[in-house]
Symmetry: none
Subunit: 209 residues, 4 copies
DNA sequence: CATGAATGAGGCTTCATTCAT
DNA sequence: GATGAATGAAGCCTCATTCAT
């Protein structure tokens, strides 16, 4: 038991070291020796815990997904108030937590790239597909709730808006990654105000701040 | 004159062959020999036109940007009607043209990845930053036009909505890339209906179709 | 301690294998794989000990210099007798030790060539300059000693004679390298007899044998 | 006839351009394109006059040998006076003419290197062997002449002294090549004074200047 | 378990040479 | 004759992976 725990710890140690190095140098720019150095262990040790570089990379991916999902779930369950308020709160929580780790954002791009072309593309693609589906589900549930409570208009297509929203969050962070002068949080809040006004059944004044 | 033209032709030939191979196998999965074979030329010939694999990759990037920008500009200039109609038309045109080359979408992911970690990251990052800025500019001009014509509400922040929209288009295509069962065109139209309703100064019924 | 020793041993192993192959095929005619084969190791192993082919070549040069210098020093310290006798003895010792490794003489030519044109030319040129200076110093000290002891004429310029002598030894070996029928030892002894007679303060009969 | 002359001219043009580039960059560091540029012609043209890079290099060698031999012969035939004076005059003439083209001296090293390891080594080795033999012959004839005229001692071995002398000239230039601060002309003159004194049948005071 | 020295497959790039114009 | 675009053989070097200690 304790043994297993120690093993898990070292596994995590390696994963987090690998995440750091992959984020800085990209998958192909990373050499195993760098990860070992970052983790403070020997090169060979990595192969005691992972089958290959690819295997380790996928483990980093899973760790990353788990981490961000966990955070997203915390954000969502903590929400209260009207559907509009909850949407805006979700927007804030997500962007804030991602902005906190914008230096890790390059990992996401590596994951996208891996899903497009690496030998592991199938595994990545499937994980992304399912991840996006889950996330769209969560957001669309939130919107449907607003519709049911007559806060949002009944003719709104919750799934479409959810899909777009999920994408918008991704893409604003992407733009922030490219452009230091771009403020995704303010941008998103102002955009959400417009969108929520479009969702709302009663005309409302926009006030994002 | 003719000589220069021939040289340009061969350059383009190589770029397009490279785009194909890079899209299929990714930057690192691609070997120069494959590109040469795809282009029907000798390996060494590529080095008559490009300094290195990286140089060729960046040339593919520039070619891709130019191509998509050209298409985007055509879409925009061709627009007529109200601001709402023009926004929706732009949505349709962009998504349609991208869906036509969804098999090339993996290139975009390679470009993102390159901007995150490759040795060329600065060049790519700058190009993306500028590309996004330009595109946000175009879309926000369109929205501001709607505000000026009192079609859209004056309190709308055109820049924020433009940034979000630009991102949404990107991200819906991304989701489509991961999920064959995902229909980004319909999704985007339904979402646009909501968004436009949020932008509009007069209450309006949503009818995306 | 032992680890370091093993590392040094393998380094030496590679250097000596490389010396052999470089001597046979020249710097540019040598491929790394040949050296690895000669050393009985894998190609990659060489790069654990040397940064590049050039780096290895320079290491061979340093090893060679050290080796021949060591031998020269042994020859010189072992000398006894009159200045004339010591000069003649030095002549014999040097030529004999070089003749023992005439098959390695091509290395010297490779080193010269490297000092003339390779990317490493500065490093080589400097090493040669210093090597020749040191050697001239040693020989001229010997001659000055003869002058001080009134064995040699006072008006002799020790430095010039030393420089010429050092060169003569080089060049006789060079001629021997080109011409199997050329006997540099006998030639040098007969020449030394004349030279020593020119140095000597008292007329003396020449008897090289 | 005129056609042949033009052909010869272009051949010479290429050889001299090649000599320049080979001297600067060495045989292996030189690429055919550089020679073509230096000669102001097209790359392919070189192959109209020479079979290969090696062939061209050997032609440069022959041109170089011819050039230096011609100069040496001029020096020798112009000599007058006693054997001692002629020897010293030869020394001066040779060193002066070589010092005039010390920037070409690296070519000699390339030739040596080629004789040691290139695929053409046999051709080069033979040429050097013969060249040295011829040169030793010339010098030893001069010395024998001095012996016959009783200017030099009868027990001197003309061949050995000639071989050493020929080598000394080579090697002093070599040292000058490595060491900017080394003056081979003065050095050689002072050395020659000693040597001539060793050769002379009557005791003589050394006065190199 | 942990290590890191050893390995060799693999890929980018160079450049002598060819040959169609 | 002259040219230079095209070629592909060849070689340096990297780095994921193995395995003896």
């Amino acid at each position: 038991m304790e043994d297993k725990a120690r093993k898990q710890n070292k596994r995590s140690l390696i994963i987090e070291a690998a995440a750091k190095v992959f984020a800085n140098r990209g998958y192909n720019g990373t050499i195993i020796a760098d990860i070992a150095t970052e983790a403070g262990i020997g090169k060979g040790t990595i192969y005691e815990y992972f089958l290959s570089k690819e295997d380790l990379f996928f483990a980093v991916f899973q760790w990353f997904v788990q981490m961000t999902e966990a955070e997203a779930k915390v954000s969502i369950t903590a929400l209260g108030g009207s559907a509009s308020e909850r949407l805006m709160a979700l927007n804030d929580a997500l962007l804030r937590s991602w902005l906190d780790m914008l230096d890790m954002y390059s990992l996401v791009m590596e994951f996208w790239s891996a899903s497009a072309s690496s030998k592991m593309r199938q595994r990545f693609k499937q994980a992304f597909r399912e991840g996006y589906r889950d996330f769209r589900q969560i957001v669309s549930a939130l919107i449907r709730d607003g519709i049911e409570k007559a806060e949002f208009r009944p003719e709104v297509d919750a799934e479409s808006v959810a899909a777009a929203l999920v994408g918008t969050w991704d893409a604003l962070l992407l733009q922030a990654w490219f452009d230091e002068g771009f403020d995704p949080l303010t941008t998103s809040r102002r955009f959400m105000a417009v969108l929520i006004s479009g969702l709302a059944s009663k005309p409302q004044v926009i006030s994002p701040s």
